[in-house]
Amino acid sequence: METTELLDGKDITVERAGEEDRTLLFKNHLCAVCGLCESICPVSAIETNPTGAMVRTEQDASKIDIDENKCVLCGMCSSICPFQALDLQIDGESIKEIAGYPHIIKSADIDDDECINCKACETACPQDAITITRELPSRAELITGEIDIDKDTCISCGMCEEMCPVDAIELDHQMPTSDNPVVATDINVDTDKCVHCGICKRICPVDAITQVCRICPYGEYEIAEPEITGTSYIDPELCVNCTWCQEICPVDAAKVTKPFEGELNIDSETCQGCETCVMVCPCNVLSFPKSTKAGVNAEKLHKDERFCIYCGACGKSCPVNAIEVKRTKINYTPTKSKAWKKAFESLEN
């Protein structure tokens, strides 16, 4: 009975088959190199590679290294990782689903009854974890009016076709022949496209078009409230519970809870503005603001702690130690194991 380690690209699998089959899976692309797994490991089996280098530069190595001679597949790294990069499975079942194993408490949900499918969350999500679909009504359902082109009066000048903002008018242009000496054989309006703006009527040099828009006087009676349907989906593997979706949602449909509470402190005197932390942060907490007034310096490094999950990746990556990340609370499910409680609490600083 031995522990084996397999590398699949940059992903790692560590296994031990015994009374139970234990498998530890590491997915490299999800890892933020925050170092929490390295800190919690009770046997020091995990070593992280330098955070700045792994996120900013092309590297062949995996973001972490797991020593199969030390790893005992206890699952602590799996339970603390806020990025779903590590998962311990026992007989094929993730310990996140096994009663008795504590896990960090976090959530992200969109209430579909409140959601108006505006897609702000999808755009704002730093991990592209959100997918919003929406079905909009056809344009014709939102307008009402009439349009008619008198084909006898029409001189086929094509001005209405050129000016129509939605390309609803089409002339069948042709080179006139002696047997058919006309420049166009037909003119038609696509009433599905027409928005009754009246431009064609007003431009027609021979007043061949009659058109009336009924939206303003009659709109309330004739146009039904548009029905917009859609779906929302937050990919639980990609979501890092940063709360961008919650903060940006105009109707409070997104609700997020974070696994850690804490403080983020920046020493702007020491900071040299290298941008490593900005690029490393998985939650878009940090940015270099631009100056808004001539002659006035902008803040060197801006933070918005609403989005911070206190993972510590920024502090770990800073080459001049200008960032301090404090964790004051780790929210985890109850456990009887004193060793596990101690391990979680050791990450509070």
Partner: protein, 81 residues
């Protein structure tokens, strides 16, 4: 398998971008922070010597990758040593 700083002097043009961009260098030397090569004897990670980058104090390197981003010819790299 540790990742560390490596200089490829034969590729280097000696532009000094890496020296002045490096946040560790800038913190240690105000001259470097101002965009010049140091004239004082402060220990910094690398300098331009004989026309190309020379790593002097690799232990000071925080492996942030800023130098790599500023190098126009990939003459300085963070890689497995």
């Amino acid at each position: 398998m540790a990742i560390g700083l490596k200089a490829y002097r034969e590729i280097c043009h000696g532009c000094g971008n890496c020296v002045v961009a490096c946040p560790v260098n800038s913190l240690r030397s105000p001259e470097v922070a101002g965009g010049k090569g140091p004239t004082d004897d402060v220990d910094i990670i690398m300098i331009v010597e004989d026309g190309a980058v020379q790593i002097k104090n690799p232990d000071l390197c925080g492996k942030c990758g800023t130098c790599m981003e500023t190098c126009p010819v990939e003459a300085i790299k963070l890689e497995e040593l």
